[in-house]
């Protein structure tokens, strides 16, 4: 009887904890770290934001690269850094309450758009350390003068062939035996 009562109380407490945990929100921390692509993180701060789940939560990036996103619930989320100048990897974040200690833990993994979120990918360190993947380059570099490109142009090939016909053929013609030339002219 007592055991049943204790069991009932334990079940109620676990259920209450789960309900309370479901309403509780968490803070996700991270840092944008400099690398060869982005040397000065301070230059990024004013033009970039951390976006979770396409805009459900947003956070600003400090001058030293640190950020903190509030309002995340338990479960999965997609964390992106939106910037018009640099591309950053997308991160799948899973916040779960540990069964042993009852504390929330964050498991973060790199993810690609269109690919299923897999738990086989290696877990990243937390707080997150995100580095820029590439710098966007929206412009086409002007092609400098290239002799190879010039001669690979079909129009140039036609011009070259025409010039060859104009300058080289008469010289070849001059080396032809006169009798052979007469025969050729007679045939034509």
């Amino acid at each position: 009887m007592l055991a049943r009562a204790l069991l009932l109380v334990q079940c109620v407490l676990v259920l209450a904890a789960a309900v309370l945990a479901a309403d509780k929100t968490y803070r996700l921390r991270g840092t944008v770290v400099p690398n060869d692509v982005l040397g000065d993180v301070a230059s990024l701060a004013a033009g970039a934001q951390v976006v979770v789940n396409g805009g459900e939560q947003r956070a600003f990036i400090r001058g030293d690269g640190q950020f903190a996103v509030d309002g995340l619930g338990l479960g999965d989320a997609l964390v992106e850094i939106q910037s018009t100048e640099y591309a950053f990897p997308k991160i799948h974040v899973r916040i779960a309450v540990g069964e042993e200690d009852g504390r929330a833990a964050v498991a973060a993994r790199y993810v690609q758009l269109g690919a299923k979120w897999s738990e086989d990918a290696p877990v990243l360190a937390y707080p997150l350390q995100i580095a820029a993947s590439a710098k966007y380059d929206f412009f086409t570099p002007r092609q400098g003068f290239s002799i190879v490109a010039m001669f690979s142009n079909p129009y140039m090939l036609m011009v070259g062939a025409s010039l060859a016909a104009v300058f080289i053929l008469p010289r070849l013609q001059a080396n032809i035996d006169p009798e052979t030339m007469k025969e050729l002219q007679a045939k034509s």
Partner: protein
């Protein structure tokens, strides 16, 4: 050999001309062919601040944007999209303090130079606070005191735990904090009227005293002001509607001291009913000066503004009139330009001239002529001083213009057109191609106009000579790239031969219709549309007549919008100059439209006709222009015509209508209905609609020899529907907008559409591409 050398030169020239093909935009073309204008929206709070030898204008806008503008050039230094109502804006020592979010729960400090976030604090939200809250930098410290959530907190740089926290217990909506010595006053509005003042020690957060002021008084913007005059005290001035007097209370005394003052300055001519209609505005005091405010009231149909200064001598208080202005309308700069040399009063004099007065000055510092027809009436004005010591006036108009003027001469220095932040629709206008000298000469000597051969001969030479002179004066065409404005040329009245350069005509919700050149983005013209003084919210922009080379009729753009009374307004403007086409160019309609589109018909004057659907419950189609000839042209070219209604978010039924001409009269009949199944409602709708397009196009598809014909239906509509609670996924429907037939259905179980995750769809040829958020 001469021939051979000539051939070699020709071949070399040909070779030099043959370069690599351009695959995209080159870096040196950026800004000319491709350009970008960052907008911030209409500023609600503005602060000028000098730091490190430069002055910046820091603004918080209606759109939740925090921005820094260079005070000398008007260029945008940086902006942050906060996306929340910014209730507090304060700048000090190279740092910008903002407070935003529900109940002012988010306190952020930014670096004034780079715009990066220095630190932030998120206070738990409380239902007791209205949006905004209050915050300030603590004098002599880097700490911040804020009324956030339901607490008064002191925050240290870093944004961690509060230094101290004092619960306010829902005693009011605190919108103002004032530091006075070693105490801080939190002034809040009580739910039942009046103010609650909480005084706390700055060091420990201990509540020193708490009392009520102005019991029962309805307060708020215009009805009360809080004047912080530093060592001269902190005052609250409010209008007591019960006693119909102005009352003043000085904060910080050991026991509340009430002073009743009847505003002697104006009482002699002010009747009680005039007092009830009067408003207060705060004026920033001169550093070390006395508290000042303005009182604006209407007397005998004339609006008057009085600047008043409070003079306290011991326990005695007096008010002194600084200046009085009489005008048709007066604009006061007060909190809008906090922390600068002194607020300004901009007064509209007769003839549309605006005069800027420094606070307390009887003589205007400067005046400027401002045409309200371009960007609307001046909303507020302020003064600021640059790092070099120059005094400038900053004005904001109802059309979204932000302009800086030299305060002494009134000369405009720079302008930011923020109306584009409220753009609702745009249309491209092809500029007329440049006419050659021969074409100009031919037009000038049209035999139908000039019958004399001799006259035509003379006129032809005159026209040709004029063209040659213009060409010579332009440096034979060589000097144009060297002009200072070559990088951002003012859009010309004519374009280029290839049609690359166009005008982009924007309609905005602030009533401004503006055109930008596609080369460089320079403004060509702007026009402010207003009915009875209220701006027209433009919804659609149509080019109804295109440019003609050497044509007599100018291209026409029509803006369709809604007046403040929700009546449809149609404005026809010259697309090259922005001038109204006719004297009654702005036409309020006797109805409120629910849909506007271009009709596939052209009127007798060469203008494309527009269709306005007038009533959602019993819709009818009105043709613009509303003439019999236009209706006949529509009936001849476009009838029957189809449109649908009910595709707004939340709708559960879409209805298709058919418009026919019966004996010259238009009749609209319901053709089909589509009820969204499954208990869902529309989340979004996308159509690729162009009423001027013809129906089905049949053609051979290149590259796919197995298909000879593809039916490209330009009347496919795309709908996204989901349940009201967002569960169950998103259903996507493709339907024919003419017949109402359902063409295709798809269901995405784990998808959702909401404010943060929009549904976007477009149709290209026989493909529909859509994007939506998927939780998995």
């Amino acid at each position: 050999m001469v021939c051979g050398s000539s051939l070699r030169r020709a071949a070399l020239s040909a070779a030099l001309l043959l370069g690599g093909a351009a695959l995209g935009l080159f870096p040196d073309e950026a800004g000319k062919i491709d350009w970008y204008q960052a907008q911030i929206g209409a500023a609600t709070k503005v602060v000028a601040h000098a730091h490190n030898g430069t002055t910046g204008i820091y603004a918080a806008t209606e759109l939740g944007v925090l921005a820094a503008v260079d005070a000398d050039s008007g260029a945008l230094r940086w902006r942050q999209l906060v996306d929340e109502d910014i209730g507090t804006l304060q700048v000090r020592g190279g740092q910008v303090l903002t407070q935003s979010g529900a109940g002012g729960s988010r306190v952020r400090v930014w670096d004034a130079v780079s715009g990066s976030l220095a630190w932030e604090h998120a206070q738990p939200e409380s239902g007791q606070q209205a949006a905004g809250g209050a915050a300030l930098f603590v004098s002599g410290s880097d700490d911040v005191v804020a009324a956030a959530g339901d607490s008064l907190v002191r925050l240290a740089p870093g944004g961690g735990a509060a230094v101290w926290e004092l619960a306010l217990n829902g005693t009011g909506t605190y919108r103002r904090l004032v530091q006075h010595g070693d105490a801080v006053f939190a002034i809040g509005e009580r739910a039942g009227g009046g103010l609650r003042v909480v005084e706390a020690e700055l060091a420990s957060g201990t509540r020193k005293q708490q009392y009520d002021v102005a019991d029962g008084a309805v307060l708020g913007a215009g009805h009360s002001v809080v004047l912080d005059a530093g060592p001269n005290g902190v005052y609250v001035v409010w209008r007591d509607e019960k006693d119909i007097v102005w009352k003043v209370h000085r904060l910080g005394l050991t026991r509340p001291m009430w002073d009743m003052y009847h505003a002697k300055i104006v009482q002699q001519e002010l009747m009680p009913e005039d007092m009830l209609g009067s408003t207060l505005d705060e004026l920033e005091p001169i550093p070390g000066g006395r508290p000042r405010f303005t009182l604006t009231y209407l007397k005998d149909g004339v609006r008057k503004t009085v600047a008043i200064e409070i003079v306290a001598t011991g326990d005695q208080m007096d008010m002194r009139k600084l200046a009085a202005f009489r005008s048709g309308s007066a604009v006061v700069g007060g909190p809008a330009m906090a922390g600068v040399a002194g607020a300004a009063v901009a007064v509209r004099a007769a003839g549309g001239e605006w005069r800027v007065y420094g606070a307390g000055a009887r003589k205007a510092k400067s005046s400027f002529a401002y045409a309200e027809a371009t960007h609307g009436a001046v909303v507020w004005a302020g003064l600021y001083r640059t790092a070099a010591g120059a005094t400038r006036a900053l004005v904001r108009t109802s059309g979204g213009l932000l302009a800086a003027l030299d305060a002494d001469s009134g000369e405009p220095l720079w302008v930011r057109n923020e109306a584009l932040a409220y753009a609702s629709d745009m249309a491209f206008l092809d500029l007329p191609p440049p006419a050659s000298a021969a074409e100009h000469a031919a037009q000038a000597t049209d035999p139908a106009v000039v019958t004399s051969a001799a006259a035509r001969f003379v006129l032809r030479w005159v026209a040709t000579g004029r063209e040659l002179a213009a060409w010579a004066s332009s440096g034979f065409g060589l000097l144009a790239p060297l002009r200072a404005d070559a990088a951002r040329p003012t859009p010309a009245a004519s374009g280029d031969h290839f049609g690359f350069h166009k005008l982009a005509v924007f309609g905005t919700r602030t009533g401004v219709v503006t055109a930008l050149g596609t080369q460089g983005g320079a403004a060509a013209w702007a026009r402010h549309l207003a009915v009875d003084g209220a701006p027209v919210a433009v919804e659609r922009v149509f080019v109804v007549r295109r440019s003609q080379p050497l044509g007599d009729a100018p291209p026409v753009v029509v803006a369709v919008g809604r007046s403040a009374r929700n009546a449809t307004v149609v404005a026809a403007l010259d697309a090259l100059t922005g001038a109204p086409v006719a004297e009654d160019g702005l036409q309020p309609m006797p109805f409120s439209h629910v849909r506007a589109f271009a009709l596939p018909a052209v009127g007798a004057d060469g203008q494309q006709l527009l269709g306005l659907v007038t009533d959602d419950a019993r819709p009818t189609l009105a043709v613009w222009p509303a003439t019999a000839a236009a209706e006949q042209a529509f009936c001849a070219a476009a009838a029957p015509f189809f449109f649908e209604l009910g595709d707004a978010a939340g709708s559960t039924q879409i209805r298709g209508y058919r418009v026919a001409c019966d004996g010259g009269a238009l009749s609209t009949a319901l053709a089909w209905t589509f009820d969204v199944p499954g208990g869902e409602a529309l989340a979004a709708a996308a159509v690729r609609y162009d009423g001027a397009q013809s129906t089905a196009l049949l053609g051979r598809v290149l590259g796919d020899r197995s298909v000879r014909y593809k039916y490209i239906n330009p009347h496919v509509g795309t709908l996204a529907a989901q349940r009201a609670d967002g569960s169950g996924g998103v259903s996507v429907y493709l339907y024919d907008r003419v017949s109402g037939r359902l063409l295709h259905t798809a269901h995405h179980a784990a998808a959702r559409v909401d404010a943060a995750h929009r549904f976007l769809a477009t149709q290209t040829e026989n493909r529909v591409i859509y994007q939506l958020w998927h939780d998995e």
